[in-house]
């Protein structure tokens, strides 16, 4: 892992070149920092189940006066993962486009990094095979918000 726990330096980077690194099972899921509103921790009992929606949409949670739909990143990456009692959620902001204001449940937050410190192939449009993946809106199916029953 190249850019984990990168300490801030005197050299300031703009927000567009900064990325948040998270761990999901054996994968490192990378979020553009410009998308990330904040990283929060929630308890499992706070989640309200949505039984009439796809299993990918785990539920919703009320946080700081907002309703956040939760997606388990492990299911997004199609790896088996048991939901813990205390979860780490990366909440996205309005800049995320079609996936704005949702929360992605990850195993843990690794840290932040800058574009030069990350492998160049991470920014390819179809980079899905390696252990490090960039979060993209097309990873989330478009019919996620339609009730299944």
């Amino acid at each position: 892992m190249i850019a984990t726990q990168t300490p801030p330096t005197a050299k300031q980077t703009i927000l567009a070149d900064r990325f948040i690194l998270t761990e999901v099972e054996r994968f490192t899921l990378v979020f553009p920092a410009v998308w990330v509103a904040q990283i929060v921790r929630i308890d499992r009992f706070q989640i309200l189940d949505l039984p009439f929606y796809a299993p990918l949409l785990t539920g919703i949670v009320h946080h700081n006066g907002q309703i956040i739909p939760l997606i388990v990143a492990a299911r997004l990456l199609k790896v088996k993962n048991a939901i813990k009692e205390r979860l780490v959620v990366v909440k996205l902001n309005d800049s995320a486009g079609s996936i704005a204001n949702i929360g992605l449940v990850v195993d843990r937050a690794i840290g932040s990094s800058t574009r030069p410190d990350l492998p160049p192939d991470l920014f390819a449009a179809t980079s899905t095979g390696s252990q490090m993946m960039m979060m993209r809106p097309d990873l989330i199916p478009s019919d996620l918000w339609q009730p299944q029953r």
Partner: protein, 648 residues
């Protein structure tokens, strides 16, 4: 409908005196029903007619009075209207000077005259006299009005007005009005008086009708009740007559049937008497044959009384014949058994001698058994002593095993203490694990805070006025870096602590395993000792059982000796008894000879009777009849079957 007075029973006439008046009236009505109905109908019609005529006349008078009153009222109203019309027309003429008012006045005058004549024709002479008092005033008023009309025509409207508005005109007007009011009041009083008369007459009629209606109702009630009772009595009498007639018919039929039955019974009795005489004759013939000793005859059996007697007689003859046949067979069997008994007595005498020899042999054998039992008792005493020493040794071994068991208990207690200490160590490690988890949680939270802080710092740095936010951003970034480093260091320290905890876990698990293995060894050793103790206990119980068995064998040997002695005494008694049996068998032989002679005599006597053909007569087996006592002795049967049997 006619009432026959003689149909009333005489006793009812007598009872009438003691009845109440109402009942007497009822009886009187029933007695004179037709005349009562006639009187009631005539009275009802008369009273109804009187009431109807009275009400009709009152109604007519009332109707004419009311009509007259309406006509007078209408005429009076027209007069008042016409008087007011004339007065107002005159006043309007003198006030306006318009001669059209005079024209209207003149048109109304003839109508007012006609109404006045009509009114005067409808009142009485007295009332007309009272009304004539106003004629003067009316004429004066008419004169004044005519005068004023002429003044108006002459153009003297002012004088005309003064004429009609003057005091004289007003005084005459008042006289005329008061007079007319008095006449109308008098007419009204007259009409009210007539109406009062009619009301009084109507009230009298209603009272009359109210009085006559209950009388009529009571009369009709009595009449209807009497008619109903008469009809009911007549129906009851008719039903009774019909029932009596039916009873007589039934009685006549029963008498006819009874007469027919009597004739048939007489015929049957005659026939039965003839049949009975014939049956008695036949029975007398049968009895005569039986008296002659012929038991083969039989009487006729039928469903009559003589048939029953014949049946009983036949059964008696049959039973008597069977009895005599049985006696003959039994006598023959007694003769045969006497011979057999003679043979058996000889056999018993021969066997008694052989039995004496066998008894001597048994006595010798009993002596041998007594000697052998004494030898066994001696050997058992020696065995008993050996078992006593073995039991002592087993008790010593058990004491030693007890001391070993106590040592094992001490060892097990020590092992338990070690296990408890290891559990305490495990709990401590558990606490350490929870501490590590808490620290990990804190580190994760710190890291997330650092990331959030760095995001906030980055956004602040991208504000449009970088000069204002640059310092804040830099500071945020610095804090975020420090917090991140701290979190990383905490993570590293926790990782090493976790590694150590894992090592402690492994060591504790190893020690726990060793202790558990030691515990299992101790348990297996304890189990072995327990098994050894159980084996000792088994040996001890078996030794005790052997000692008890020796004692039992010793007691049994003594019992055998005692039994041998009693057997010798019993054999000696048997020898004595066999000698007695020998003597009794000689006596039995002489008795059987006598019985043989007696049975031969009995058979010769029975040959005199003529018996029916032999049926399947139940007879006892010869040996059972002859010697039942012998068969009840099972030991003697093989001796009889094989006389040469001996004791070996």
């Amino acid at each position: 409908m006619s009432i026959n007075q003689s149909a009333i029973p005489a006793h009812k006439e007598q009872n009438n005196r003691s009845r109440n008046p109402l009942q007497q009236v009822k009886d009187l009505v029933r007695t004179n029903l037709v005349s009562t109905i006639t009187v009631t109908v005539a009275g009802s019609l008369l009273l109804t007619g009187v009431s109807a005529w009275n009400i009709w006349s009152i109604y007519n008078s009332f109707q004419s009075t009311v009509t007259k009153q309406f006509e007078l009222q209408k005429t009076s109203d027209q007069l008042i209207y016409q008087d007011e019309f004339l007065t107002m027309s005159a006043q309007m003429l003198v006030s306006t000077g318009n001669l059209d008012w005079e024209t209207r006045y003149n048109q109304m005058v003839p109508k007012a005259d006609a109404s006045l004549k009509k009114f005067l024709a409808g009142i009485t002479a007295e009332q007309r006299a009272a009304a004539s008092k106003t004629d003067g005033a009316a004429a004066k008023l008419f004169e004044l009005q005519t005068k004023s009309f002429k003044l108006v025509e002459q153009g003297k409207q002012k004088e005309a007005s003064q004429t009609l508005m003057g005091a004289e005109y007003a005084a005459q007007k008042k006289i005329f009005g008061d007079g007319n009011g008095a006449v109308l009041a008098q007419v009204d009083r007259s009409i009210q008086a007539e109406l009062g008369n009619y009301q009084q007459q109507l009230l009298i009629s209603i009272v009359f009708a109210g009085v006559t209606l209950p009388i009529l109702l009571g009369s009709w009630t009595f009449v209807l009740a009497a008619v109903r009772d008469y009809i009911r009595d007549r129906l009851a009498a008719q039903i009774e007559i019909e029932q009596s007639q039916q009873n007589l018919l039934n009685l006549n039929q029963a008498l006819e049937v009874e007469s027919q039955n009597h004739r048939e019974q007489e015929k049957i009795v005659r026939e039965e008497r003839d049949t009975l005489q014939q049956d008695i004759s036949e029975l007398l013939d049968v009895v005569s044959n039986i008296e002659a000793g012929d038991f083969t005859v039989s009487a006729n059996v039928n469903n009559r009384a003589t048939g029953l007697i014949g049946d009983v007689l036949n059964r008696l003859v049959e039973e008597l014949g069977l009895l005599l046949s049985q006696v003959s067979i039994e006598a023959q069997q007694v003769a045969a058994n006497s011979h057999l008994q003679d043979k058996i007595a000889a056999t018993v005498a021969r066997s008694s001698g052989e039995q004496t020899e066998s008894v001597n042999q048994v006595l010798a054998l009993t002596q041998t058994v007594r000697q052998s039992a004494n030898d066994a008792a001696t050997q058992l005493a020696a065995t008993d002593r050996s078992l006593g020493s073995l039991q002592t040794a087993v008790t010593d071994g058990e004491l030693k095993i007890g001391s070993l068991d106590r040592g094992i208990d001490v060892l097990q207690q020590g092992s338990d203490r070690i296990v408890q200490q290891m559990k305490a160590l495990g709990e401590f490690v558990g606490l350490s694990d929870r501490f590590v988890d808490d620290q990990t949680e804190i580190a994760t939270q710190t890291q997330i805070l650092a990331l959030n802080a760095s995001l906030v710092a980055a956004r602040a740095a991208e504000q449009r006025d970088p000069r204002q936010f640059e310092a804040v951003a830099r500071e945020f970034e610095s804090i975020a870096g420090q917090v991140s480093q701290l979190a990383q260091q905490t993570n590293e320290g926790l990782a090493s602590l976790e590694q150590r905890n894992s090592q402690i876990h492994r060591v504790v698990s190893d020690v726990d395993g060793e202790v558990q293995r030691l515990g299992s060894l101790v348990n297996s050793f304890t189990l072995g000792v327990k098994q050894t103790r159980e084996v000792f206990a088994t040996v001890q119980s078996v030794t005790g059982q052997v000692v008890k068995a020796g004692e039992v064998v010793s007691q049994t040997s003594q019992t055998i000796i005692n039994s041998a002695d009693s057997t010798a005494r019993s054999i000696a008694a048997i020898a004595t008894l066999s000698a007695q049996i020998d003597a009794q068998s000689q006596t039995a032989r002489s008795i059987s000879t006598q019985m043989n002679e007696l049975s031969a005599g009995l058979i010769s006597n029975i040959q005199v009777f003529k018996l029916p053909a032999q049926k399947s007569i139940v007879s006892l087996p010869m040996i059972a009849v002859a010697t039942p006592e012998l068969l009840s002795m099972p030991d003697l049967e093989p001796i009889l079957a094989e006389p040469s049997h001996q004791f070996n």
